[in-house]
Amino acid sequence: MFIDAMGLILAENRKLSLGELTQKRALAALPFAGRYRLIDFMLSNLVNSGISSVGVVTFNKYRSLMDHLGSGKAWDLSRKDKGLFILPPNVLSDSLSSGGDIGDMTAVLDLLRTSHWTHVILSGANNVFTTTFDDFYKKHVEAGADISILFNQDGPETARTTTVLKTDKGNWVKEILIGPESRAGAKYSLGVIVLRRQLLIELLSDSIARGENEFSMDQIMRRHTHLRILAYPFEGVCLKIHSVESYFSATMKVLDKSVRKSLFWSDLPVYTKVKDEAPSHYCCGCDVSNSMISDGCRVYGHVEDSMIFRAVTIGAKTSVKSCIIMQDSYISEGCELENVILDKNCFLRPGVKLVGQAAYPVVIGKGAVV
């Protein structure tokens, strides 16, 4: 109900790469589900929980995030003294060198130290789900845990970067494993934790003192074995994105009615930047099936099992099947696309044919002219 906490989102994750899709943008800035970016979901979850102060930690790809987040207005986080803080690297006064990771952590520490909230909800941005943290927070406070961590039992296909929690029957964490082989009935961390602000300051300062240059709560928690860590189950739909393949399959899952309902049609709005596009126009002769299409599009051709972002044109006699087409792309007449991810602002000349496989979708980089 009354969450006395601020939010902190780690917008980048060096362990995860989505190839060309994250080469020039932070993972958190990855477009998703037609009109969102990944960070919209976590930001909305925090805001819908009544949190009014959120820091976004970036390393070096902060431009895409700054463009998207702006002053935080779209999430109602444009406030006078609190609101949204984008924490880009600390470029030191007279040199452009360094900055780097410890710089990131000191900026985070500065923000934490000048805040007055009792708790911090710390999270990545690569899991997509819609919820509030009311119960999670309440349970954390009531149980008297040092750290509480959200989990579910829906494991990702690949295990390399997965954090598995070993707990007792009361869900108290006994062990934290990263990418274990055996995963029967495993509890997978969703990378969302709540802890006292003061404790986070201590843990971070300790890491900095040890000369560590990476912000890994997993590592930190494994070191501090005296901490009482509680695992809290998340019951809803959660899409996990850690590779191009899982990004593609997560998108296809969004077309499913129950997933759409869980993500978008609860009482909790998912906020994102407003673009003021016109309505989408379905022209005579178009043919659309099992697809999501955003505002500002013009559809003349055939679209099936696809996710179409804003202001896309699908030309006549073109077939788009099982594709992700990002904002402002233009697909000319007579093209044939299947299992393709088209990044923003691409232009496909008439008659282009691109066919991938569901497990290996063809990825076309931003602004490409094909």
Binding site: A33, Y282, S294
Partner: protein
């Protein structure tokens, strides 16, 4: 544009009774239009795109929706520190309290507000027109010609001149005669109800107009003729392009259908002159397998499983499998249930057309809801009513909720409108 060059006042006070049930709960400028807009979005966006940062919206009839819709003005870039968007209802002064009388009286009652911005000129606009226009160009013309007032005019077909205020202008564009709805017009230049006044001149004219007991305190009927008779420098400003007054059910329906033709002079995809609006954040719309869509507009949050042809769907509209929608306007949250048939209708927000119901199925038929407000076989359904399963409503009906609908064979009950 410098702040003191001009501020705008939008007349949004009319009850809009010719729109019937559509304006029962909201002012006409707040009526949804064109898939994701409300009527006033066009005027507000024109102001913002023209660089005008202070806009007063004069309203007194059902302003709640308009008030919360406009809010801080942010969607139109009108959340300014010095200026911005203001809703200006009538208020009690220490000596007296009046509702607005005519259009001119509404401006007169807000003279103190206008004065506080010390504008050189005042742009007076109507809140219920659909068009894109650069007021900065008109202001430039006004200033270049050193005019006391400049009136935007548009050519209308000669046979329609009797519906408009008609201007006769000399070769230089100076207005020499003005006739309100003339039986026999000397010109086909109609006033668009868009005026730029030098504020000093207008202020004096308003004081004189208020003192005149015979005046109806209206710009077209009283103030403009007064200025003309006093020899003021009244200039005409020619506009050509899409412009439509959406004051009637028929013109509102027609203007929505016009959007589907993507007219060049009302290009909603033009990023250099966007029409802004405030919208709830909804996901992209979803088109199911088996749905068909032809020549239609959709916005966020729609779910289409049935057949939609030549129609405008606002956000969060649901068209279930087997339902057919033709030549219609479905406002936000409308649900067309399986097997229902809707033709040439304007369905108000959150209304539900139950299974098998038929709206506008025929141009003839009898119904207690037949209405003189509706014409051309268009049918209107009030927001938030649920039409009974299998009910039949012919064209030219205005389906309105009344407190006593026991035994009504069209409306089942009221739904909740948010």
């Amino acid at each position: 544009m410098a702040r003191r060059d001009v501020i705008a006042m939008i007349l949004a006070g009319g009850q809009g009774s010719r729109l019937g049930a559509l304006t029962k709960h909201l002012a006409k400028p707040a009526v949804p239009f064109g898939g994701r807009y409300r009527i006033i979005d066009f005027t507000l966006s024109n102001c913002s795109n023209s660089g005008i940062g202070t806009v007063g919206v004069l309203t007194q009839y059902q302003p709640l929706v308009l008030n919360t819709y406009i809010g801080n003005g942010q969607p139109w870039d009108l959340d300014r520190n010095d200026g911005g968007a203001f809703i200006l209802p009538p208020y009690q002064k220490s000596s007296r309290s009046d509702w607005y009388k005519g259009t001119a009286n509404a401006i007169h009652q807000n003279a103190e507000f206008i004065d506080s911005y010390e504008p050189k000129n005042l742009l007076v606009l109507s809140g219920d027109h659909i068009y894109k226009m650069d007021y900065a160009k008109m202001l430039r013309a006004h200033m270049d010609k050193n005019a006391d007032a400049t009136i935007a005019v548009i050519e209308v077909p000669w046979e329609e001149t009797s519906r408009f205020g008609i201007m006769e202008a000399d070769a230089d564009g100076r207005i020499v005669e003005f006739a309100e709805k003339p039986a026999k017009a000397k010109s086909n230049l109609a006033s668009m109800g868009i005026y730029i006044f030098s504020w000093d001149v207008l202020k004096a004219a308003l004081v004189a107009d208020e003192a005149d007991e015979k005046s109806t305190n209206d710009f077209g009927k009283d103030v403009i003729p007064r200025l003309l008779s006093e020899g003021a420098n009244l200039q005409s400003y020619r506009f050509s392009g899409y412009w439509k007054d959406v004051g009637t059910v028929e013109s509102l329906w027609q203007a929505n259908m016009d959007i589907l033709d993507c007219p060049d002079d009302l290009n909603l995809y033009d990023r250099s002159w966007r029409i802004y609006s405030r919208n709830p954040v909804k996901p992209a719309h979803y088109i199911a397998k088996g749905a068909t869509l032809q020549n239609s507009c959709l916005t966020d949050g729609c779910i289409v499983e049935g057949d939609v042809d030549h129609s405008v769907l606002f956000h969060s509209v649901v068209v279930e499998a087997g339902a057919i929608v033709k030549d219609s306007v479905l406002m936000p949250g409308v649900v067309i249930e399986a097997g229902a048939y809707v033709k040439k209708a304007i369905i108000g927000s959150n209304a539900v057309i139950s299974r098998g119901a038929r709206i506008g199925y025929s141009s003839v038929g009898s119904s207690p809801y037949l209405s003189r407000i509706c014409s051309d076989d268009i049918t209107v359904v009030e927001r938030g009513v649920r039409i009974r399963e299998g009910a039949e409503v012919p064209g030219n009906c205005m389906v309105e909720y009344r407190d006593d609908i026991v035994g009504d064979n069209v409306i089942e009950r009221r739904t909740q409108v948010r």
